[in-house]
Symmetry: C2
Subunit: 340 residues, 2 copies
Amino acid sequence: MILKKKLSIVDLAKQLNISPTTVSFVLNGRAKEKRISDDLVERVLKHVEEVGYKPNALAQSLRTGKTKIIGLMVEDISDPFFSSVARLIEEKAYKSGYKILYCSTDNNTEKTKDLLDVFRDRQVDGYIISPPEGIEDEVSSLVNGGIPVVLFDRYFAEITTDHVVINNEESSYNAVVGLINSGCKEIAFITLDSLQSQMQDRLKGYERALNEHSLNHHVKEISFFQDSENIIKHITNFLTRKDNLDAILFATNYLGVSGLKAIKALDLKIPEDLAIISFDDYSLFELHSPSITAIAQPIEEIAEKVITILLNKLNLPAKYKKNQAIVLSTNLILRNSSVK
Amino acid sequence: MILKKKLSIVDLAKQLNISPTTVSFVLNGRAKEKRISDDLVERVLKHVEEVGYKPNALAQSLRTGKTKIIGLMVEDISDPFFSSVARLIEEKAYKSGYKILYCSTDNNTEKTKDLLDVFRDRQVDGYIISPPEGIEDEVSSLVNGGIPVVLFDRYFAEITTDHVVINNEESSYNAVVGLINSGCKEIAFITLDSLQSQMQDRLKGYERALNEHSLNHHVKEISFFQDSENIIKHITNFLTRKDNLDAILFATNYLGVSGLKAIKALDLKIPEDLAIISFDDYSLFELHSPSITAIAQPIEEIAEKVITILLNKLNLPAKYKKNQAIVLSTNLILRNSSVK
DNA sequence: TATATTTGCTAAAACGTTTTAATATACCGC
DNA sequence: GCGGTATATTAAAACGTTTTAGCAAATATA
């Protein structure tokens, strides 16, 4: 890769004594259609190869309106769930010639709106978003404007969009039933004070399981906008106040991690004093002593569905763009923390 | 954010009955310099505000040659170390109006070369790279071409570039000395078969510590291109063959994690049978039983230095662009796994 | 031989900015 | 009332593509 003065398609055309139009047609594979002679096609391609010409992507984008860039907004790229999904999405996107412009929303509505503006200014071709609360209108106008958008991890019930989520309610229902079957009676649900669909559904599943077995509800909602220190404090406080609990379901992996820290500090035994299940599996839960039962999301499948839907929308004619709502199943990985 | 037909600066000018040039000058804060009357400036700004005009970033980039995009290449965005650094870099970049185009290199030389081409085609203004082996020439030509590049986590001794790394040799030296002081005699180093600077330096530190104490070397190099399953197999095999070991230093966090899995499977006791220290701290090491001593990299500081250097290079005149080689210190977090 | 069709290629406009160089008017001193 | 300078604004070129519409020559049709 040597950085000479960059050649333009006009330079190229001059060198070949033909018009830029012809070069462009050849390069865009429209030679047959435009009846460029095979001789000339070959001459162009050979020369392009020789001088190592690369078109200016900006100029192409300006002219065509297509950037081949996908905007990816996740809650937090340093979260293991989101970074794993992002990794897989990136891989598949690059394979189809798309690049990823990314950002973390922090679940912050205003920040997200700004970021959407940035993406729009940059004219990304499509959006992949794990949306915070309060951006329904913005998502709507994108969708109504015919711009490909795929939501994941959560969605807005009020607006029709393509989205890929998991069966949150069923997942937490099954987890809680598992706890009940292993003898737990006072089961807490530690979650975020979030109205996002995935959080609400997880709550519903928890409540349904308890109701069906006539058990007491113990819900602790923690504000999303806390650092890890404070989350631990709140959980510690909750556990100290509620000293009759015998199990906890954590609604996200980082709540689970903070919970484990709190439990360790309080010197409680898992699962004897307290059985544990957490959403979102990862290596920590596997290696922990005792190992932690987790609701594993099908990360590969999520990424696969998200990018496939988006690429289809990007490349297929509008009439095929029916909205898809994909609901994937989780996998309850039973480990020692939930068996009394 | 409503998606009307997008207005151009020309439309705006027509509506105001002035020339696009004037609008452009006002919008770029060059009104004073260009002696646009205060009246007109106000009229323009008011109208821009009213119609919600946003300039087309592509056209701007095409004209100015600046994209306000930074290309970020990390080894693997789903690795906790890299995703944490990426997160912080992203945050600071956005604050200065820069966006991040990112990708994972997989430490794959060819893939990385392709990705560099993609970034160049997209005309990113600057590069942040944790480089794989074999891209010295590509990095050289960027640097020689006057394009801002900052390497991190590792660098190339043969070429002068700005880079931000940690004191790898000293860090592993100190870790090994720690193990020796707590009575270990047969200390293994499990690392990657990598010629990258950080890996070589970590190896050097290990060897120097052993040599100074006349102890036996036990180095296990694992190929980078393995999935986690195979890494565990190799470590298990190594541990089985070398049954006289009493301590291990892992050269990266995921080697550490795989090592813990292997150790668990072999039912060895930490630290009684085997003391453990790993590079790169994260929550798993803190919560593990016993907790795992780790060499923590100063993630905040790394991100801060990287982005500061890059932004300076992007915004300061060329003459100030002296290369900086930053070496930061790690923090050996002593936990139970390394105290016999 | 005149007319239509196909073949092979291109000129010029367009995308939406920024920037250079210029113009036109007003003001000033003398 | 004339040269000079400051003031206020703009026309046009440039960035590097793609694409529309069209031209000329060659071939087919009648």
